[in-house]
C-alpha cells in the first residue's frame, strides 16, 4: 500500500504491477461434488433422488441386458433357456435381422443396398465437408443413379437414360438462361422430358443389358426403407425449401402467392393424411393401369412436407439478416442470384442450421409413419411379420428397443455433425 496514499485524491501509478497467476483453486473430487451436487439443500435432495432413480433403472435393465438370450428359435425357447430368470430375448434380432434391416429384399442381393449405403458416405462427404476436393462432387452427382441401379436393379440403361435426360436438360438450361431464367428453366425441363420420352421408345422395358436382378418396390423394407426415404426426401426437400423460402420473399406476386399457399397448405395438414392421400386417393386420379410406384408417391409427399417446414425455417434465417447485407451486395453490382448465392444464403442457412436439423431429425423419425399405410419399414416389419408370427409374439421391448437404438444412432450422428458444422462456420467472433 506504499504507493497509494489514503487521503490524497490525486494519484499517479509509478510502478506497473506485475501480472500475477490466478488464485489456486481448491481442486479435487470433493470440491467438485460440493459445488455441483450438494451446493444447497434442494440440490442435495435432487442428487439423492437422481442416484436412486439411476440405481432403480440399472437394477432392472442390466440383468435384462446381460442375461439376454441371443440364440433361440422362438420366444418359447427363450423362456425355457431363461427358466424364470430375468433376461431379454434378443434371439429375435439374430433370427430376424435381415427382415429388420432389409425387409423382403432378396437375400443373395444384400450386397447391393449395402454397397449403395457405403457409397453414400463418399457421395455426401464433399457436400458435408467443404475442405474435400471439389472434383468429388462429380461422384455426388452420379450417386443417385448408381444407388437406384444398385437398389432397384433392372437394366443399367434406365438410370443411364435418366442421367442423360438430366444432363441434356442442364446443357439446354445453361444455353438459354442468358436470355431469361424462365426460358432456361422451361427449356431445360422440356429437353429432359423429350429425351426421356424418346429414350423410352428406344430402350426395351425388359432390356437385360448389364441388368441386375430387378427388385420390386414392395420388397424394399426394414430400416433400409427408412434410410432411403429419409435420405432422398431430405436431399430433395432442402433445395426445394430454399426455393420456396426465396419465392415467398419474391416481389412477383404470382410466385409469392404460389409459395405461400403451398407452404401454408402443407403445414396445415398432418403428414399421415398426406401419406393416406399418396396411398389411396392418388390412385383415383391416375389413369387405370398406370404403375406409379408407391414408394415414389410417398417420397413426393414426405418431400413436400419437409420442404414446407424447411422453407419456414430458412425464411426465419433470411429475416434475421440485416438489410445492410442485401444493400451491400446490391451496391457492389451483384445480381440477384449472385447476391443470394454468395452473401445471403450462406449466412441465412448458417443461422437456420439448428432449425433445419430439427426438421431433418423429425422427418427421419416420421418415415416410420409409412407403416400405417402398410409399408414394411422397420416399424412395419416389427408390428407386422415379426410380432404377428407365433414364434415371436410378445417380444416388444427387444424389438422396439432395437428400433429406437438404430434411430438414435443416426439422429445423434446428424445432431453431432450439425454442431460441428456450426463451430466450423463460426466467423463472427462475438
Amino acid at each position: 500500500m506504499s504507493d497509494k496514499p489514503a487521503h490524497n485524491v490525486a494519484f499517479v501509478r509509478e510502478t506497473t504491477l506485475p501480472p500475477s497467476p490466478p488464485p489456486v483453486a481448491e481442486t479435487g473430487a470433493i470440491k467438485w461434488m460440493r459445488e455441483n451436487l450438494f451446493s444447497s439443500a434442494f440440490n442435495s435432495i435432487m442428487t439423492i433422488l437422481g442416484v436412486l432413480a439411476v440405481y432403480q433403472i440399472l437394477s432392472l435393465a442390466l440383468p435384462w441386458l446381460l442375461n439376454g438370450v441371443w440364440n433361440a428359435s422362438s420366444i418359447r425357447d427363450c423362456r425355457e433357456i431363461l427358466d424364470g430368470a430375468t433376461g431379454g430375448c434378443f434371439a429375435v434380432l439374430t433370427e430376424r435381422w435381415h427382415q429388420l434391416v432389409f425387409g423382403r429384399y432378396p437375400q443373395d442381393s444384400y450386397w447391393r443396398p449395402t454397397l449403395a449405403f457405403l457409397l453414400m458416405f463418399a457421395a455426401f462427404a464433399p457436400v458435408l465437408f467443404s475442405n474435400l476436393p471439389k472434383k468429388m462432387l462429380i461422384f455426388t452427382g452420379l450417386y443417385p443413379f448408381i444407388a437406384y441401379y444398385l437398389v432397384w436393379g433392372g437394366s443399367v440403361l434406365v438410370p443411364i437414360l435418366s442421367l442423360v435426360g438430366f444432363a441434356v436438360g442442364y446443357v439446354v438450361y445453361t444455353r438459354l438462361v442468358d436470355r431469361s431464367f424462365a426460358t432456361g428453366f422451361f427449356g431445360g425441363v422440356a429437353a429432359a422430358i423429350a429425351v426421356w420420352y424418346i429414350g423410352g421408345f428406344i430402350i426395351n422395358e425388359d432390356s437385360t443389358f448389364l441388368a441386375l436382378e430387378q427388385v420390386e418396390s414392395r420388397d424394399i423394407g426394414g430400416f433400409m426403407l427408412n434410410l432411403i426415404l429419409g435420405v432422398v426426401c431430405l436431399s430433395v426437400s432442402l433445395p426445394l425449401g430454399i426455393v420456396l423460402a426465396l419465392g415467398r420473399q419474391s416481389r412477383m406476386p404470382i410466385i409469392k402467392w404460389i409459395c405461400v399457399v403451398f407452404i401454408e397448405f402443407i403445414r396445415g395438414v398432418p403428414l399421415i393424411t398426406l401419406l393416406f392421400v399418396a396411398n389411396v386417393v392418388l390412385a383415383y386420379f391416375l389413369p387405370p393401369g398406370t404403375n406409379f410406384d408407391l414408394i415414389l408417391r410417398v417420397m413426393i409427399m414426405i418431400t413436400m412436407f419437409a420442404a414446407a417446414y424447411i422453407a419456414e425455417v430458412i425464411r426465419g434465417g433470411l429475416a434475421a439478416l440485416p438489410r445492410g447485407q442485401y444493400e451491400a451486395g446490391d451496391s457492389l453490382g451483384l445480381d440477384y442470384s449472385q447476391s443470394m448465392r454468395l452473401i445471403i444464403l450462406p449466412q441465412a442457412l448458417k443461422i437456420s442450421i439448428p432449425g433445419i436439423v430439427n426438421v431433418a431429425v423429425g422427418l427421419f423419425k416420421d418415415t416410420t409413419l409409412v407403416s400405417v399405410i402398410s409399408m414394411f419399414d422397420l416399424v412395419g416389419m416389427v408390428r407386422g411379420p415379426i410380432l404377428a408370427s407365433t414364434d415371436w409374439n410378445g417380444v416388444y421391448w427387444e424389438l422396439f428397443g432395437f428400433a429406437a437404438l438404430l434411430f438414435f444412432v443416426f439422429c445423434y450422428g446428424i445432431s453431432q455433425y450439425s454442431q460441428w458444422l456450426e463451430r466450423q462456420l463460426q466467423t463472427d467472433h462475438r
Binding site: P322, G324, E327, D330, S331, G333, D335, P346, H429
Partner: protein, 261 residues
C-alpha cells in the same frame, strides 16, 4: 463566385467539365410522404461534395437514389452518361461503377477481409482470382490494413472495418464514391483514421459525395457543401463561403447547432 486563396488552392484542376452525375427535377415519395422534393444537382468528375443537414432531411435517400438502392418516382438521374431506368442490367452496370460506403460498414461477416474485397471483382467483373487478390491487397495496403487480410470482419475494430469497406468498394475501380455518414458509428478515436483514408482518396481525384457532419473534413476536402432540409437542397456553396457566410436562416441555425456551443 468569390473565392479565398485557400479555397482556390484545393479547388484545383482535378475538377473537370465532364458531368459525372446529373439529377434533374427528381422527386421521391415514401407512400404519401414527399421525402425528396425537386432535386436538381450536377456533379462534375473529380468533385468532392459534402452533404449535410438535420436528421431525416433526406440525405441518405438522395445518395441511395444515385445507385438505385431506392427508386425515385419523378425526374431523371444520369450517372456516367447512363440514365437510371428500371432495366436491371442497366442498374447493375451503374452500381458496379459507383462505390458506396455505409454507416454500419455492411461487411460480409462470413467472408475474410480479402474475400470481402475480391467477391465483386471476381463475380461481377469476371477478374481472375489471382488478379483480384492482387488488386485487393493493393487497396488494403492503401487503407493501411494489409496485415488483416485473412481475418474476419468480426475480429476488426470499427475504424478498421470501415476502411475495409472503403477498400472493398475501391476494388471495383469505381468512378464515383458515395459515403453515407461513414464515421457516425465510430468511436471518436477511430474517426480520424477513416477520414484520413477519405482525404487520400480525394487527393487522388476520386469523385465523392459524402454525407457527413464532420465539418473539418468538409473544410479541408470539399469543393462544394450542400445543405438539405425537409427533402430539399436549401443551400450550396464552396466551403469557406458556406461556413462563414451562410445565406439561409435554416443553414445558419443548423451550423450554429453543429458548430456552436
Amino acid at each position: 463566385m468569390a473565392m479565398t486563396d485557400d479555397a482556390i488552392a484545393h479547388m484545383d484542376a482535378k475538377v473537370s467539365d465532364e458531368v459525372a452525375i446529373e439529377i434533374e427535377n427528381m422527386n421521391k415519395w415514401y407512400g404519401t410522404f414527399h421525402v425528396l422534393r425537386d432535386i436538381n444537382l450536377t456533379v462534375y468528375s473529380g468533385e468532392r461534395i459534402v452533404i449535410c443537414g438535420p436528421s431525416g432531411s433526406g440525405k441518405s435517400t438522395l445518395i441511395r437514389c444515385i445507385n438505385a438502392l431506392e427508386e425515385h418516382q419523378q425526374g431523371r438521374i444520369t450517372v456516367d452518361g447512363t440514365t437510371l431506368s428500371s432495366d436491371i442490367k442497366n442498374i447493375d452496370r451503374i452500381r458496379s461503377e459507383v462505390g458506396m460506403v455505409f454507416q454500419h460498414f455492411n461487411l460480409f461477416p462470413h467472408l475474410t477481409i480479402l474475400e470481402n474485397c475480391t467477391l465483386a471483382p471476381i463475380w461481377v467483373r469476371k477478374t481472375p482470382k489471382k488478379e483480384a487478390e492482387e488488386t485487393a491487397m493493393h487497396f488494403l495496403t492503401k487503407v493501411k490494413i494489409p496485415e488483416q487480410a485473412d481475418k474476419y470482419p468480426g475480429q476488426l475494430s470499427g475504424g478498421q472495418q470501415q476502411r475495409v469497406a472503403i477498400a472493398r468498394s475501391l476494388c471495383m475501380k469505381p468512378r464515383i464514391m458515395l459515403f453515407d455518414e461513414p464515421t457516425s458509428a465510430l468511436d471518436p478515436e477511430m474517426i480520424k483514421e477513416v477520414l484520413d483514408t477519405m482525404i487520400e482518396l480525394a487527393e487522388d481525384g476520386m469523385t465523392m459525395l459524402v454525407v457527413t457532419h464532420e465539418m473539418g473534413f468538409a473544410r479541408q476536402v470539399a469543393n462544394r457543401v450542400i445543405f438539405m432540409d425537409e427533402g430539399q437542397i436549401v443551400e450550396q456553396n464552396e466551403p469557406e463561403e458556406f461556413f462563414h457566410n451562410p445565406k439561409s436562416d435554416r443553414t445558419k441555425l443548423f451550423l450554429s447547432q453543429i458548430l456552436g456551443h
